[in-house]
Symmetry: C2
Subunit: 199 residues, 2 copies
DNA sequence: ACAGACTATCTATAGATATAGTTAGTTGGC
DNA sequence: GCCAACTAACTATATCTATAGATAGTCTGT
């Protein structure tokens, strides 16, 4: 399970509340990992109990208060340990390709719609990631700037480059999917006879 | 949830027992969908109760018996309906890229190991899929042959082509990942200084 | 002073998934 | 006749995940 490590990665930059983290999960990290708040809050409490985080009550307004979580030495050690451990590749689970394998069950029009949706989905993702990279390069990414501020000079370049490299991988993947989708459209047309081409 | 549709797709070819299906899930379909028997058996019972399958007791040896599931008309309709519905793209959840984004936490040697593992993993997958395609083209894929036997002549070509197309998509994806891994290795070397290159 | 938007947290529930068993019959080889 | 490998099916448990909604305080503008 990677949720806790995604949380540790964010908390390594600065202390945050569950709410802050949930918001981050909707924006930046969301491209790589998603989690709803109902999963984040319990996980944070669990991690605090295990000593990976320290919970700090912070007052907010007159009566309000919130819990801020700060990563502990154990937390940093746990994250570093996870970083050093090999990735566990989970078993395949791919609805898109499952469906693609049985496209002969559908009308060409529907098959085309599936492929077009695939292309649209990954085009959107690709553009979002490209924007992300632009922000990283331009130095306008807030999270990265905070991270860099707490990073020794010698490691800054690596920190930036690895982030960009990650998003470039996601872009490459999206582009492969787009290409596959386009090939799919062509295949559908060629199989449904020339009379229907371009429909 | 796609498990039931993966089951319906297999049962559309011929009736099978839970055991047969679990085995298929370890081999052919495993490239696209994985499920352990402890998930398959309950799902089959549920589907039978909902009328998508008919359960048939088959005797096996002297005392043994097994339950064979046969797809019903409702089952076929449900599968076709699912095939016509757009794919629901689930939220991102990608441990590999999550880890890649924080590679600066590790030593170059470890970072290289991660990348090499990624390359190895996808090389293996790519080769398996290539073999799959070879089998589809050569007509030695047992499952496909059974499927074709029950398919009207006019639809056979599409059935084969869509299968091949699916696996070609998986191959393309694997190759993108391999390329990304190789770029990662180069990046790690260039960031860790020329003295360590090639180590 | 109040509405509306936002911040903050928590709960409940259902369903999905992984892991690790248990039980029992069958088949084939030695 | 027995063992090993295989077939068949089921159970238990823990964790993960999604969806939805409940509660309550804060902040901003009118």
């Amino acid at each position: 399970m990677s949720l806790r490590y995604a949380l540790l990665a964010l908390l390594a930059v600065e202390p945050m509340t569950g709410y802050d983290l949930a918001k981050r999960f909707e924006s930046s990290v969301a491209f790589v990992w998603h989690a709803p708040d109902s999963q984040i809050y319990p996980e944070l409490r669990k991690m605090a109990k295990e000593g990976l985080l320290r919970a700090e009550e912070v007052s907010w307004g007159q009566r309000g208060k919130k819990t801020q979580y700060r990563i502990s030495q154990e937390g940093r050690a746990a994250f570093r340990e996870w970083m050093n451990a090999p990735v566990e590749y989970s078993r395949e689970r791919d609805p898109v390709h499952l469906k693609a394998a049985y496209l002969e069950w559908t009308e060409p029009v529907t098959a085309r719609k599936h492929m077009q949706a695939h292309i649209d989905y990954h085009t959107l993702r690709r553009d979002q990631w490209a924007e992300m990279i632009a922000g990283l390069r331009a130095g306008t990414n807030e999270m990265l700037n905070k991270r860099l501020a707490a990073t020794p000079e010698a490691d800054r370049r690596r920190t930036i480059e690895y982030k960009i490299f990650t998003y470039e991988g996601l872009i490459a993947r999206a582009e492969t999917e787009i290409e596959w989708g386009k090939r799919g459209l062509k295949l559908i047309d060629s199989l449904s006879g020339p009379s229907l081409q371009g429909s």
